[in-house]
Amino acid sequence: MSKRKVGAAHMPVGECITQVQEILRQRFCRQRVPDRPGGVEAQHKHLLGLLKRTAVHGESNSVLIVGPRGAGKTMLLKCVLRDLMEEKEVQKNLLQVHLNGLLQTDDRIALKEITRQLSLENVVGDKVFGSFSENLVFLLEALKKGDRSSSRPVLFVLDEFDLFAHHKNQTLLYNLFDVSQSAQTPIAVVGLTCRLDVLELLEKRVKSRFSHRQIHLLSSLTFPQYLERVQTQLSLPDDFPDENFAQNWNSSIKAVCEDKSVRDVLQRHFNSSKDHRTMNMLLMLCLSRVSVSKPTIKPADVLEASRMCFSDAKANMLHGLSILELCLIIAMKHLNDIYEGEPFNLQMVHNEFKKFLHRKSSSMYNFEQPVIMKAFEHLQQLELIRPVDGSSAKTQREYQLMRLMLDHSQIMEALQKYPQCPTDVKQWAMSAFG
C-alpha cells in the first residue's frame, strides 16, 4: 500500500489518519480480496481443486455455492480464482464468463452476454448480432465443436443462481449443465445463491444434469471468534509506515474490544446476525468518527455507531410528519386495535379522528375533508399505509381499503420522541379505547 520506507518512524498525525482510513476502508468495503479465506479453508480447497481440474484436465464440472447473504460466497470464489490464476498453466487456458441473475434477467440477455464475454465470432465490437434463437444455436454449436483435450475450458459464474431458475423453461441452465455432462468443450458452472432449497427450484431434467455438488458456507462463528474478528479487522498491519502510531492504534483497539459496554453492543450485533457485512458496516461507522483531533476509536464511538445501525427508519420517518398526519396514524392504530388488523379506508379513519375531536371539543384540529384527504395521500406516498392487494383502483379513493404498515411499538416510540407533541394527542394515542 504505502511505498514509504518502514524507517520513516514519525509522520504527522494527519497523514497517519489518512493512511488508516485508506487501509481500513478498503478492508471494510471489500475492495480487496483477503489474503486467505477466513473460516472456509475446506470449502476453498474443494472449489480450488474442482476448478483446477477443469482448467488443467479439461473435466467438466458444476457446483453450487450456497450460503446466507454476507457469508462470503463471492469472497471465496474470488480467492479461488486469484489462486487459480497464479498458475501459469491455468492463466493461459481458462476463459471466464460472469453472469448475474439480477442483471441478466432472461435468457436472451444472458446469451448475448455470454457471447460477448466469450467474444465469439458473431460479436463485432461490443455488439452481438443475430436473434435470440440464432444466438442460442450459435453458442451451442460453438460449445459442441470443442472437446476435452483441445479447446479452452470455460468457467461460467452465475451469481444469484436462483434467479436463473426462474427463466422460461430454464433453457440456459439446461444447456449449460448438458454441456457439462457431455463430451463437448469443458466447462465449469459455478452458481452462487443464498437459497438453501435451490435444487427444488430446478426442473427435473435440469436437476438430473446438475452434478449435485453443493458447497455450503454456513458460519458457525462463536462470540469470542466474532470479537477476535472485530479486533483483527480494526488492527493496522505490521507494515504500517509509522510504527509508533500503529502500536498505539492497535493497543487502543484492543482496549476498546475489552470494554464492557462495547462487548454488550457487539454481543447484540452478534445475536442479530453473524455475517461480515453488518459487522463491517458497524466498524465503518466507527471509523468515520476518527479524525485528526481524535486519532483513536473510543467505546463511545462504537455505541453511537451501533445506535445508528439499529435505528428504525420508519420510526424516524414519523418524526417528520405533521400533527394532522400523526393524528391520522393514531386513528389507524386504534382502528387496528378495534378490528384486529382488518383493513380500513379513509372514511373510517376520518370518523375515528372526528370522534377524538368531538371528545376534546376543541376546534384546533378541525380540518376540511380535502385537507385530510391530502394528508392521507401523503401517508400513502411515504408507504406508511398501503392499499390492500385485492382492492381495485375503480373504487373511490375515500373508500379504498388500506393497511397500516407500522407497529404499535414503533408509533409509541415515535410519539415519545416527537418534538413538542401535544399532550392530548399523546394521551389519545395511549388510551386503550379510541
Partner: protein
C-alpha cells in the same frame, strides 16, 4: 442463383427423327433427340442425348440437373421418358457432408451424382430446359464472375464422399468416333487398338510365378500391391455382374489386374531400393539421357516381343505405354511426338476425348460388347487413371494424420485434383516423374482402406442399372474398361507370357544399372513438390470466413490438457458422464428394439414414429445415439441404405416453432424463418423425389414442443405418414402418458402406439454400469460400489447421479490419501461422505449456524403454528409472539422465509 422455370403453358413434346433402336419385346423405341415446343411461340428447344438438362425439382427455385442418357418412348408416343444421369446441386448435398468438401462450394457448382437410391427414369414432361454444364479441372478456379447460366462440375458425389470426376463423364456430345482418332499416337504404334490389353495380358502372366524379388518388394511394404489386389477384387465383382461375358471376362480381369499389380510393383520398389543403396546425386541432364536410353531399350524389347507375338504393332504399344509411362515418365514426355502426351500436359485431363468416344461406342452399340471399343479407349485411358489413383492413395495417408476420419476423406478428395494439375505441370515443364514417388510403408493402411471403399463402391455400382453403370463406374474403377477388353486378346497374352517375364527380369537389371540416375530425380521431385503442396493443404480445410457466416467455435487451449496421472484420476475420467462408453450395458433389449425399428424403416424406405419415455438419467438419449452410431456404421459398410440423422432438442430451442428452422438447416443447410421452413419441409416431405435418403429425426424433450394448437407436434408426426417422406421420428420425453396427457387426439393418433419406456436402473444394473465404465481400473472396493448403487437405485435410479457420487468419492479419497491407513482404493467411508454431501439437506446445519435472533424467530414461528393449528402465519402474528425482539432484518428475509418453508415440511 435462381432458375426461373418456364411459365406454365402447354408444351408440346415431339421426337425428332426416326427411332434409333426398337426393343421389340418391350415395344420401346429409343430416339436421339426431343423437340420441345411451347405453344404460341415460334422457338423450339431440342434436347439431344448427352445434353444437360434441368428437371423440375421440389420447388421452383431448385430444379434438378441431369444429363440425358437415353430418350425413349412407347410406340404410341404418349409416354416419353428420359434416362438421366443425375447431378447434385450444392443444396441437395446434406450440410453435414458438405463439410467433406473442405471449402465453400461455389453457388454454381454441381456434383456428378453416383450415389445409390436413385431413380434415373423421369418423364420428359418434367424437363425444364437445357443447361450448360462445364467440367472444371479439380484445381482450376471457378470462372469469376462466370457465365450465370452455366454450371460447373468438379467433383462427383456418391452420398458419402466427393471424388474428382473425369471431364469425359461430363462433357456432352463429343464428335462420335472420329474425334479420338487424331489423338492416338501416329508414330510407332500407329493404330492397333487391341494392342494394349494384349500386352497387359502379357505382363500379367508374370505374377503367378513366385518371383523372389517380387515377394521381397511386397515385404518391403509396397503399398501398391494391396491396392492392386483390391482392385483385382473389384474387377471380380464387376465381372460377376457382367452377365454377358462373365466367364471370359472374369479370367481376363483377374489377369489384367495381376498384370497391373506387377507393373506397378516394379517401379517404386526398385526405386526405393536404389535410393537406399545409392544416395549420391547426379546431374539432371545425365539422368535424362540415361532414362531416355533406358526407354529406348525397353522399346526395343517391346519390338522383340512383337516379333514373337501374332500381332506385332500391339505389343509395341505395350512397350511404349506400359513401361515408359509407369516406370519413367520422362520417357513418355520425351516422346512428344505422340499427341496423347501433349494432351496430358494440357488443361483438361487427357482421357477426355478418347474416353468419350469409347462411351459413345458403348452407348450406341451396347450389344456388341467389348469387341471394338475395348482396346482403343483403354490404351489411352489407362495412363491418367493410374496417375489419378496414385495421388489419391498418397493423400489418404496424409489425411489420416488429420484428426477426424471425415476430414480425412475430405482432404483426400480435395487435394487430389490439385495434385493432378500439379502432376501435369510437372510433366510439361520438367522431365520429372509426376506421380510415382517412393512410398513409405505408412501408406499401406490408408491404401487398404481406400481400396476397400472402392470395392464397395463398385459393388454398389453393379447393382445399378446397366446403362448408367458403364458410365459411372469408369470414374473410379479403372479395371472396368480393361475388363471389357475382349477375350480374343487373351490367347495372345498367354503366348507372350513367358516372354514377358523375361522382359521383366531384363528391366530389373536395367534398373540396377541406372540406379544412380534415378535416385536424384526422385529426390529432387519430392523436394520441389513439397512447397507447392503445402499452401494447398493449409488452405483447403479452413473454410473461408465471411462476415455473414461466422464459424461458431471456442478458442483452442494454448497448453494441452494434462493426462490422468494416477488410478483415481483415470477412474474419474471414466466415470464422468460425458465419457462415451464402449457399450451401453443393461439396455440391450431397448437397444435391440429401437435398432430393429429404425433399421426396418430405413430398409423399407418407409416412415414411422416411436415414443420413448423414462425418468431423467435412464439412458434414453444415449441409447438412441448408440443405435444411430451402429446404423451409421452399417450404412457405411453398405449393409443398409444410407440415411440422414438429425437431432433436435426441445430444450435447445427458444420457441417450439424453431424446430422447423433447425430441421431444415440440418437437412439442407438452408436458413429460413419458422413459417417458411415449415412450408419448405412440408413440400419436401410430401413431394416425391427420385434420390431421397431416409431421414431419422430424433426429437428430444418432446414436451417442450407443445404449443396451444400443437401444430409443431402434429406436423412432426404427420410427415412420416406421407408416402414419399421416408422419415423416421424418434421422440423422447420423461412422462409415460405424455401422448394422452397433453396431446390432442389427432396428434396422439399420428404418434401411434410404438412406445417404449425406460425403467429406472436397478441397483444391480447401476453396479454393472459403473463396473463396465471403470473397465478393470481398480479404484473402488466392491462394497463401496454396492452401497452407491443401492442408495441411488432406492432414490431415483438416475445413472448420472450414481456416476457423480462415485466421482465425488474418488475426490474425497484423493484428499484423504495422505492418511497412512488409506489403501488407495475408494472405500465405504469415502462413499458415505460423498453420499452425505449430496443427499443430506443442509437445513439442520443452517439452522444451527443461524444467529440467535434468527433462531428465536423460528421458535416464534413454531409457537404461532401451534397456537393456530395452521401451518401458515403472517409476519405480524409471528412478530407479536416475539416479545423480546422487535426488529427483523430485511436482508435476511429470503433466508428466513426459506426456513419458514422448511419448517412447513418438518
Amino acid at each position: 442463383m435462381k432458375y426461373f422455370t418456364r411459365p406454365k403453358i402447354r408444351r408440346v413434346l415431339q421426337w425428332r427423327g426416326e427411332p434409333i433402336s426398337l426393343n421389340r419385346r418391350t415395344k420401346i423405341s429409343e430416339y436421339e433427340s426431343l423437340v420441345i415446343r411451347v405453344e404460341g411461340l415460334p422457338r423450339t428447344t431440342v434436347i439431344n442425348v448427352g445434353q444437360h438438362i434441368l428437371i423440375e425439382g421440389e420447388d421452383e427455385e431448385n430444379p434438378y440437373v441431369a444429363k440425358v442418357l437415353r430418350l425413349f418412348g412407347d410406340e404410341s408416343g404418349t409416354q416419353k421418358k428420359v434416362t438421366v444421369q443425375w447431378y447434385s446441386m450444392v443444396s441437395e448435398v446434406p450440410l453435414s457432408k458438405l463439410k467433406l468438401l473442405g471449402r465453400e462450394p461455389h453457388p454454381q457448382e454441381i456434383f456428378y451424382y453416383q450415389g445409390p437410391n436413385c431413380d434415373d427414369e423421369v418423364s420428359a414432361e418434367s424437363i425444364l430446359r437445357p443447361v450448360k454444364v462445364k467440367h472444371l479441372d479439380g484445381s482450376a478456379p471457378f470462372p469469376d464472375p462466370g457465365d450465370p447460366d452455366s454450371l460447373y462440375v468438379k467433383l462427383s458425389w456418391d452420398s458419402k464422399t466427393f471424388k474428382v470426376v473425369d471431364s469425359a463423364l461430363v462433357n456432352p456430345d463429343p464428335a462420335p468416333a472420329s474425334c479420338p482418332k487424331p489423338s492416338l499416337p501416329p508414330s510407332p504404334p500407329c493404330s492397333p487398338p487391341a494392342a494394349a490389353p494384349a500386352s497387359r495380358g502379357l505382363a500379367r502372366r508374370a505374377l503367378p510365378t513366385p518371383d523372389p524379388s517380387v515377394m521381397r518388394r511386397a515385404a518391403l511394404g509396397e503399398v501398391r500391391y494391396s491396392r492392386a489386389s483390391a482392385s483385382a477384387g473389384k474387377a471380380c465383382y464387376a465381372a460377376e455382374a457382367e452377365s454377358l461375358h462373365s466367364a471370359t471376362k472374369l479370367s481376363a480381369s483377374k489377369c489384367l489386374s495381376a498384370k497391373r499389380r506387377n507393373a506397378m510393383e516394379r517401379t517404386p520398389g526398385v526405386r526405393k531400393k536404389l535410393e537406399l543403396c545409392s544416395p549420391e546425386k547426379k546431374s539432371m541432364s545425365h539422368t535424362d539421357v540415361l532414362s531416355q536410353l533406358l526407354d529406348e531399350d525397353l522399346e526395343s524389347e517391346g519390338m522383340l516381343a512383337q516379333h514373337l507375338s501374332s500381332s506385332p504393332p500391339r505389343t509395341l504399344s505395350l512397350g511404349h505405354r506400359l513401361t515408359p509411362l509407369k516406370k519413367s515418365r520422362r520417357a513418355s514426355a520425351a516422346q512428344d511426338a505422340s499427341p496423347l502426351k501433349e494432351s496430358t500436359g494440357m488443361d483438361s485431363p487427357p482421357p477426355s476425348a478418347a474416353e468419350d468416344s469409347s462411351r459413345e461406342l458403348l452407348d450406341k452399340s451396347p450389344q456388341q460388347g467389348g469387341l471394338v471399343e475395348a482396346g482403343l479407349p483403354t490404351s489411352s485411358v489407362k495412363t491418367p487413371r493410374r496417375r489419378n489413383a496414385t495421388p489419391r492413395g498418397k493423400y489418404a495417408t496424409r489425411g489420416q494424420k488429420a484428426s477426424t476420419p471425415s476430414r480425412q476423406k475430405g482432404s483426400k478428395v480435395l487435394k487430389e485434383p490439385a495434385l493432378g494439375a500439379l502432376a501435369e505441370v510437372d510433366h510439361e515443364d520438367s522431365p520429372m516423374l509426376p506421380v510415382t514417388t517412393p512410398r513409405s510403408s505408412k501408406r499401406k493402411s490408408a491404401r487398404l482402406v481406400l481400396s476397400r471403399i472402392k470395392v464397395q463402391l463398385s459393388l454398389l455400382e453393379n447393382q445399378q442399372d446397366r446403362d448408367s453403370d458403364s458410365e459411372e463406374e469408369d470414374d473410379f474403377v479403372p479395371s472396368k474398361k480393361e475388363l471389357q477388353s475382349s477375350s480374343e486378346e487373351e490367347e495372345e497374352g498367354e503366348e507372350e507370357a513367358g516372354l514377358d517375364s523375361d522382359e521383366d527380369v531384363v528391366v530389373k537389371k536395367r534398373r540396377h544399372a541406372s540406379a544412380g540416375s534415378r535416385t536424384p530425380r526422385s529426390k529432387q521431385k519430392t523436394s520441389t513438390r513439397t512447397p507447392r503442396k503445402t499452401p494447398n493443404r493449409k488452405v483447403t480445410p479452413s473454410t473461408p470466413r465471411t462476415p455473414h457466416r461466422a464459424t461458431p467455435s471456442i478458442p483452442s487451449r494454448s497448453r494441452p490438457a494434462r493426462q490422468p496421472a494416477n488410478v483415481l484420476e483415470e477412474a474419474r475420467i471414466r466415470l464422468h458422464v460425458s465419457s462415451v462408453p464402449e457399450s451401453l450395458p443393461c439396455r440391450e433389449q431397448e437397444f435391440q428394439d429401437i435398432y430393429s425399428f429404425v433399421e426396418s424403416k430405413i430398409i423399407d424406405g418407409t416412415g414411422g414414429c416411436m415414443y420413448i419415455s423414462g425418468v431423467p438419467g435412464t439412458g434414453k438419449t444415449a441409447t438412441v445415439h448408440e443405435v444411430m452410431r451402429c446404423l451409421q456404421h452399417a450404412a457405411d459398410v453398405d449393409e443398409i441404405p444410407p440415411f440422414h440423422f438429425i437431432e433436435i432438442n426441445g430444450m435447445k430451442m427458444t420457441d417450439p416453432h424453431q424446430a422447423y428452422v433447425q430441421i431444415l438447416q440440418k437437412l439442407t443447410g438452408q436458413k429460413a424463418t419458422a413459417d417458411h421452413a415449415a412450408a419448405l419441409l412440408e413440400k419436401r416431405f410430401s413431394n416425391p423425389a427420385p434420390k431421397r435418403e431416409s431421414t431419422v429425426l430424433l426429437v428430444d424433450e418432446l414436451d417442450l414442443l407443445w404449443t396451444r394448437k400443437q401444430n409443431v407436434m402434429y406436423n412432426l408426426f404427420d410427415w412420416p405418414t406421407r408416402r414419399h417422406a421416408r422419415l423416421v421420428v424418434l421422440t423422447i420425453a420423461n412422462t409415460m402418458d405424455l401422448p394422452e396427457r397433453i396431446m390432442i387426439n389427432r396428434v396422439a393418433s399420428r404418434l401411434g402406439l410404438t412406445r417404449m419406456s425406460f425403467q429406472p436402473y436397478s441397483f444391480k444394473q447401476l453396479q454393472q454400469i459403473i463396473t463396465s465404465r471403470l473397465n478393470k481400473v481398480k479404484a473402488f472396493e466392491e462394497d463401496a460400489l454396492q452401497l452407491v448403487s443401492r442408495k441411488v437405485a432406492a432414490l431415483s435410479g438416475d445413472a448420472r447421479r450414481c456416476l457423480d457420487i462415485c466421482r465425488r468419492a474418488t475426490e474425497i479419497c484423493e484428499h484423504s490419501a495422505s492418511d497412512p491407513s488409506a489403501t488407495g482404493l475408494v472405500g465405504m467411508g469415502h462413499v458415505m461422505d460423498a453420499l452425505n454431501e449430496m443427499f443430506s439437506s443442509a437445513y439442520i446445519t443452517a439452522i444451527k449456524c443461524a444467529s440467535v435472533q434468527e433462531q428465536i424467530f423460528l421458535r416464534a414461528v413454531i409457537a404461532e403454528f401451534r397456537r393456530l393449528g395452521l401451518e401458515e402465519a403472517t409476519f405480524q402474528q409471528v412478530k407479536s409472539r416475539r416479545t423480546e425482539r422487535r426488529r427483523r432484518r430485511s436482508c435476511r428475509r429470503s433466508f428466513l422465509h426459506e426456513s419458514i418453508d422448511r419448517l412447513k415440511f418438518i
